[in-house]
Symmetry: C2
Subunit: 340 residues, 2 copies
C-alpha cells in the first residue's frame, strides 16, 4: 500500500496577545502505518473554536496547553480509511479530536460515529456538535430559563450563541442577542427569531440593551466578556443566572486592564442581587449527549433551530481563519473543509 503524506499545522510559537500567522507552521510528513488496534482517518472538516486560543498559551486551565511543535488541537469530522478497531469500518464517518491535520490515527477511544441521517456531517462540529451541546447544556442546566424570562447572549450569530437564543425561544423566553454588525443582527432577528439583536460595536450598547430588556435580564449566557458583560451587569435581575462558557474578549489579554478594580463591585452585585455565576465546559455534562442529539436534531427537523456555517476551503487557510474568528470576522459556525 502506498505511503500517504500528511499535512499538519503545528504551533510554531506561543502568541503574545493576538495570534499571528507566524505562530503557526504548516508541515508535511510521511504518515506512519496505524498499527494494530488503530484506525487511519481522513479529515473532512476541522472545527475552529475560540477555546483554541487558550490552548496556545502556557499556564493553568481546564486542559493542558498545546506544546510548541505539536499539532494544534481541534475537533474534526473524518472518514475511516483503514481500521483494526472493533466496530470501526472503512467508510464510517466519525467525529473526533484529531486536530489541524489532513489525516489522523486513533485507537478509537475518543471517537463517536456520526449519523449522516441527522443532517450534513459538518453539523457534527456545530449545531449538533460541541458548540450546540455547549449551548444546550449550559443554558438548560445552569441558566434554567423559565417562560417569560429574558435571556441575553452575545456572539448571537455564532455557533453557540445562535443555539442559546433559539433554545430560549423554545423555552418561552424573550431572547436578546448581541452580534458584530448590522448584517449579523438582521440575520439573528429575521432568520433565527430572536426578539432583538444589538450591534456590539455601538457606542450606545448599554442604553440599547436596556431598551431591549425592559424587564431586566434573568439569564446571561456568557461567552464573550468585555463590553457586553459590562452592559449586562447593571440589568441583571435578582436571582439571575450567568453560565460562563467563554470570554473571547479577553483571550488575547496580556495583562489585567487598567483600574479601577471592579472585582469588589462585581462581588457586591453577586451578593445584593443573589446572582449565580457558574463556569462550565461542555464535557461536564457528557452524559446528556444522547438527549441533546435527540432534542436538537428534532428541533432542526421542525425548523425551530436553524444554523449557518462559514466554511473555509483548505487546511492551509486555518490559521488566518482562526485569527479572524477571534475578531468576529466569521459569520456562522467556522469550519475548514480539509477534504471532500
Amino acid at each position: 500500500m502506498s505511503t500517504l503524506r500528511s499535512r499538519k499545522i503545528v504551533l510554531a510559537a506561543r502568541p503574545v496577545g493576538e495570534p499571528r500567522t507566524s505562530d503557526f507552521k504548516l508541515i508535511e510528513e510521511e504518515l506512519a502505518e496505524p498499527g494494530e488496534g488503530r484506525a487511519l482517518l481522513r479529515t473532512l472538516y476541522l472545527s475552529l473554536d475560540p477555546y483554541m486560543r487558550g490552548r496556545m498559551s502556557a499556564g493553568p486551565s481546564y486542559a493542558p496547553p498545546v506544546e510548541v511543535g505539536d499539532v494544534m488541537v481541534g475537533g474534526t469530522v473524518s472518514e475511516v480509511l483503514r481500521s483494526s478497531v472493533a466496530g470501526l469500518s472503512p467508510g464510517d464517518l466519525v467525529e473526533g479530536r484529531t486536530g489541524w491535520q489532513t489525516y489522523g490515527i486513533t485507537d478509537g477511544s475518543d471517537l463517536r460515529k456520526v449519523d449522516p441521517a441527522l443532517g450534513p456531517v459538518s453539523t457534527a462540529l456545530g449545531v449538533l456538535g460541541m458548540p450546540g451541546m455547549t449551548a444546550y447544556t449550559g443554558l438548560l442546566n445552569l441558566g434554567q430559563p423559565k417562560p417569560g424570562e429574558t435571556v441575553v447572549v452575545a456572539a448571537a450569530s455564532g455557533a453557540v450563541g445562535s443555539v442559546v437564543g433559539q433554545l430560549a425561544k423554545i423555552k418561552g423566553c424573550r431572547a436578546v442577542g448581541v452580534a458584530g454588525g448590522q448584517r449579523k443582527c438582521d440575520y439573528v432577528v429575521r432568520e433565527l427569531g430572536f426578539d432583538a439583536c444589538l450591534d456590539r460595536r455601538s457606542p450606545e450598547l448599554a442604553a440599547r440593551l436596556k431598551e431591549a430588556c425592559p424587564d431586566g435580564i434573568d439569564v446571561y449566557f456568557e461567552n464573550v466578556g468585555g463590553a457586553v458583560f459590562d452592559a449586562v451587569l447593571p440589568l441583571l435581575n435578582p436571582f439571575a443566572r450567568v453560565p460562563v462558557c467563554g470570554l473571547i474578549a479577553h483571550y488575547n489579554d496580556t495583562a489585567p486592564p487598567p483600574g479601577p478594580d471592579r472585582l469588589p463591585g462585581l462581588m457586591r452585585q453577586v451578593l445584593s442581587k443573589r446572582l449565580a455565576l457558574r463556569g462550565f465546559i461542555v464535557s461536564d455534562f457528557a452524559e446528556q449527549h444522547p438527549e441533546f442529539l435527540r432534542e436538537v436534531s428534532r428541533w432542526i427537523g421542525e425548523g425551530r433551530i436553524k444554523y449557518r456555517e462559514d466554511v473555509v476551503e483548505g487546511l492551509e487557510k486555518a490559521p488566518e481563519a482562526f485569527i479572524g474568528l477571534l475578531k468576529g470576522e466569521n459569520f456562522g459556525k467556522l469550519l475548514v473543509r480539509v477534504a471532500s
Copy 2:
C-alpha cells in the same frame, strides 16, 4: 394606664465611608397606645449585624435603606407587654425586627415565638437566629460540603463564621478559619474545633492559607471579601462553591479601589475552574427554618456546636458597638442588652 417613654436610635445622617457616632441620634418619645390588632413589645436584646451598614446607605440593594430620621432596623428579642394580637399573650418571648429601640409595636406578622427551652433567649439572635441560619442554609444549600473537602470561612469567631466551620466539621470536612488576632484564632481552633485558623492581619496570609489547605479549597463561605478573598481565589479547586453572604471588608468603601481591574481575571477563574459563585440572603431559604432550628439546637445540646456572645449593656451603646463590629472589635455574636 401610665404612658411609657420609649428611647430609640435613629439614623441622623448617611455615613460616607466608616460610620461615626454622629450618624446616629438617640431620641426619646412618648409611646402611642398600640391599638386594636397590635401588640406592645419590650426589647430585651438587640442584635448588631454587618448588614446594617448597607441599610444606612441609599442605593439599590436587596432591601430598602433606612431613611434619615427613621429608627435603625435590627433584629430583637422582646417580651410581650400588652397584646390584642391573636395567639400573642403578655409574657410571651418573641423574635422580631423592631429595631434599635426600647419598645416596639407590631401587628405580629413579622414575629416568631422564642422557645426558652432551646437555650438562653439571646441565642434567638445568634446561633439559633438569623446568623446561625445564614451559616446553615448558605453552607448546606450552596456550599454543599462533602466529606474530606476543605471549607474556608473568615470572621471565624463571629456569629456566622463560627457556625459555618462547626457545620463543616459535622459534615466531615476540613475547616479552616480566618479571624482577627491570635486570641480569636486560638478560640476558633481550641474551642470550636476548626482544623486551623489564621490571623487575617498577617502579612503572610496567602502563604499561611496555602499551608493550611494542602488539598486546595472546595468551599469558600464568603462573608468578608477583601484580602481574604484574594488569598482564597488562587487556592480554589475545580468545581469549588462560593456562597456569598457578606462583604464586610467593602461596606465602608466610597469608591472602587485602584486598578488594575481584576474583574476579567475573576471571570477567567470562574470559567477555567468552573467555579460557582452565588449570592444569597437568609430569607431566600425561609422554609428551612424548622429544620435549621431542630438540627442546630440538637447539635448545641450534644456539644457539637458552641457559641460565644459579646454583650454590650444599654441601648445608648449600640452605635459605638456597631462601629466596632465593622472593625472586627467584637469577639462572638454582638448583642445589646436593652432590658433584662
